[in-house]
């Protein structure tokens, strides 16, 4: 029967569980994000560097292509921790740009349109809401970080053999853990900025500015006080140190990886506090 002839009837069927309900939000948002031209362009551009890396892996594993060229090319074409750190550095930047474009559209419209009471009057807690929004962004950022990384390891494993993977097990572990830390942090920053500022454009600028401003503050502290622990205030540098430690590559001067992890944890907690303060169904002015 046509829906307009049927009339309204109360729904009396089975209800879905908590996690199915929670996933409704990402499923609703993803098509709308991909529809945005800028996000689509950044997603496509983000695949250029992984494609170049795939080419590099291919050439590196086919010595017959370059053995005649002589010189130190074999050393240059090694697939090691440094190679993967270069890969991560570039993709991490793309992830920040993507988060700056996609993140503000997740919470800011709900706040601007006073839509939170509609969400929170349903069986959805504030934690559920944040997790759903976080998952939306993490899955999007994983498309330019974790999935390309998986492809690179699959290709390198396929060309160099399983022996290479067992010998270098630290590399996939480091890349996947490092990227996971990165996209979680970037997503939290994007959500907090989106919750803090109701205007999408300003929130987007704030996401990028967050990393630049903290990097500037950290550099200033290091120079004025002649210390190195200032990088704890710089999330990008802290992540770089953590990645380097996980990939077995020298990260340069400064606090160790565990100190950086602690710094990142404190930063994440502060971002969590921002979300906790801002995401309320009703604003109470006391």
């Amino acid at each position: 029967m046509a829906v307009y002839k049927r009339g309204y009837q109360r729904y009396r069927g089975e209800l879905t569980g908590r996690y199915t309900r929670l996933l409704a939000l990402p499923r609703f948002v993803w098509p709308r994000l991909i529809e945005q031209r800028m996000i689509l362009i950044v997603l496509i551009v983000s695949l250029f560097w992984p494609l170049a890396c795939i080419g590099f892996i291919y050439v590196s594993n086919h010595s017959e292509l370059w053995s005649g060229l002589g010189g130190d090319l074999g050393k240059f074409l090694q697939i090691d921790g440094k190679f993967f750190r270069y890969f991560m550095d570039t993709q991490a930047v793309m992830a920040v740009i993507l988060a700056a474009l996609a993140g503000p559209g997740l919470i800011a419209p709900d706040l601007a349109h006073n839509g939170l009471p509609l969400y929170f009057s349903r069986p959805l807690s504030r934690l559920d809401y944040v997790l759903a929004r976080l998952f939306t962004l993490v899955a999007l950022l994983a498309m330019v970080t974790l999935f390309p990384a998986f492809l690179l390891f699959a290709m390198q494993g396929g060309l160099a053999g399983m022996g290479w993977l067992t010998q270098n097990w630290r590399l996939p572990f480091g890349v996947f853990t490092g990227f996971t830390l990165h996209i979680l942090l970037v997503s939290l920053v994007a959500l907090a900025c989106s919750a803090w500022v109701k205007w999408r454009t300003i929130a987007g600028a704030l996401v990028v500015g967050f990393f630049f401003i903290l990097a500037g503050v950290a550099e200033m502290l290091n120079n004025v006080l002649e210390v190195t622990w200032g990088i704890l205030l710089n999330p990008a540098q802290s992540l770089y140190t953590v990645w380097s430690a996980m990939l077995g590559v020298d990260a340069g001067e400064g606090p160790g990886a565990w100190a950086c992890v602690a710094g990142l944890a404190v930063l994440s907690a502060l971002l969590g506090v921002v979300l906790e303060k801002k995401l309320r169904p009703v604003e109470v002015i006391s």
């Binding site: 309204y8 109360r10 879905t16 009057s121 069986p123 009703v282 002015i285």
Partner: protein, 329 residues
């Protein structure tokens, strides 16, 4: 069956101010399809009470139960059974009505397919069928109110909380909204909590009314009983020889007082309808000048409750109900 809302010394503090000061009452019966009106002057605590029931504010003391579930310890169970239409504009502008409703349905626990089906069905029900693919931002105020109602009932909740549903509606849209609310309780068995400044709306739709003032319940009226008792109280003015009227009324069990000059006041006992009175009047060959029911309006109850009218005083001159050509009221 548990009451729809049960408050036990409920206290809510926002900042340093205590907004709800120990509310206690039992309202409605779950599954009965009754409407409860929530009334009170501005700042009385109506919205805070609704928000406390929805778990937006944690009680600072006491407790509240909705449909038998504790608002503090079982918020998911409570929210799964509630549909909420907020007072403010809350719709996300750049989304079509059908997409928005589908999302709201899924968040309420409907499977994706059922949510889409119910989204269409509900939008047709509230009169937005033709506009369902338009972005919500392009809707007029009246359409937005209907869309807000649709999102509140898409999952077929047991209790629908409506905060000022007729705000900003023109008379035709207001009538449509009230008809929909009546249908929700009568045809679909939903319990309704209607928070409104418009006493007329509450009077038309609700079976019970709670009046709040300064965070306290000052009156709890059973409007249905009130209507029944008003119907029993009749004022009559006749011309002609009414000396036999007292005896005839006594015979029917009607208590009456003769005020002189053909004016009478009487209370009809249960089972005696106004038709019987007309028959006596016809038998005694009296001419009726006036026949009215007492109309102790909600406005009077409200004004008395909030202290703007001394107890026992009338708010406005009583308006006689029109007598139809066939003599019926």
């Amino acid at each position: 069956m548990p009451p729809v809302i049960e408050l036990d010394q409920l206290r809510v503090r926002l900042g340093r101010r205590e907004i709800l000061k120990g509310l206690s009452c039992r309202l409605g019966v779950s599954g009965s399809g009754k409407a409860i009106g929530l009334l009170g002057p501005n700042g009385a605590g109506k919205s805070t009470l609704i928000q406390a029931l929805l778990g937006f504010h944690k009680p600072s003391g006491g407790g509240a139960r909705v449909l038998g579930f504790d608002c503090r310890t079982q918020p998911r169970e409570v929210k799964a059974r509630i549909g909420y239409m907020p007072e403010n504009e809350t719709l996300i502008a750049n989304v079509t009505a059908v997409s928005f409703l589908r999302l709201m349905g899924e968040l309420s626990g409907l499977p994706a397919e059922a949510a889409l089906e119910k989204a269409h069905e509900t939008l047709f029900h509230v009169g937005l069928g033709e506009a369902r693919y338009r972005p919500l931002g392009t809707y007029s105020l009246g359409m937005k109110q209907m869309a807000k109602l649709a999102q509140a009932i898409i999952h077929g909740p047991e209790l629908v909380i409506l905060d000022e549903p007729t705000n900003g509606l023109d008379p035709a849209a207001r009538r449509r909204m009230l008809t929909l609310i009546r249908e929700m309780k009568q045809d679909h068995g939903m319990n309704i909590v209607l928070c409104s400044h418009l006493l007329r709306d509450v009077e038309e739709v609700c079976d019970e009314a709670v009046i709040l003032k300064d965070g306290q319940i000052v009156h709890h009226a059973d409007l249905e009983a009130e209507r029944q008792s008003n119907k029993r109280f009749v004022e009559l003015e006749v011309a002609g020889d009414d000396s036999g009227l007292a005896a005839a009324l006594r015979e029917m069990g009607v208590e009456s007082i003769r005020e002189g000059d053909g004016r009478w006041r009487m209370v009809l006992p249960p089972g005696v309808e106004i038709d019987a009175l007309w028959r006596i009047i016809a038998a005694l060959d009296l001419r009726v000048h006036k026949l009215t029911h007492r109309r102790d309006t909600l406005e009077e109850i409200f004004l008395k409750a909030v202290g703007h009218l001394p107890s026992g005083a009338a708010a406005a001159p009583e308006q006689p109900e029109e007598v139809a050509a066939d003599g019926r009221l």
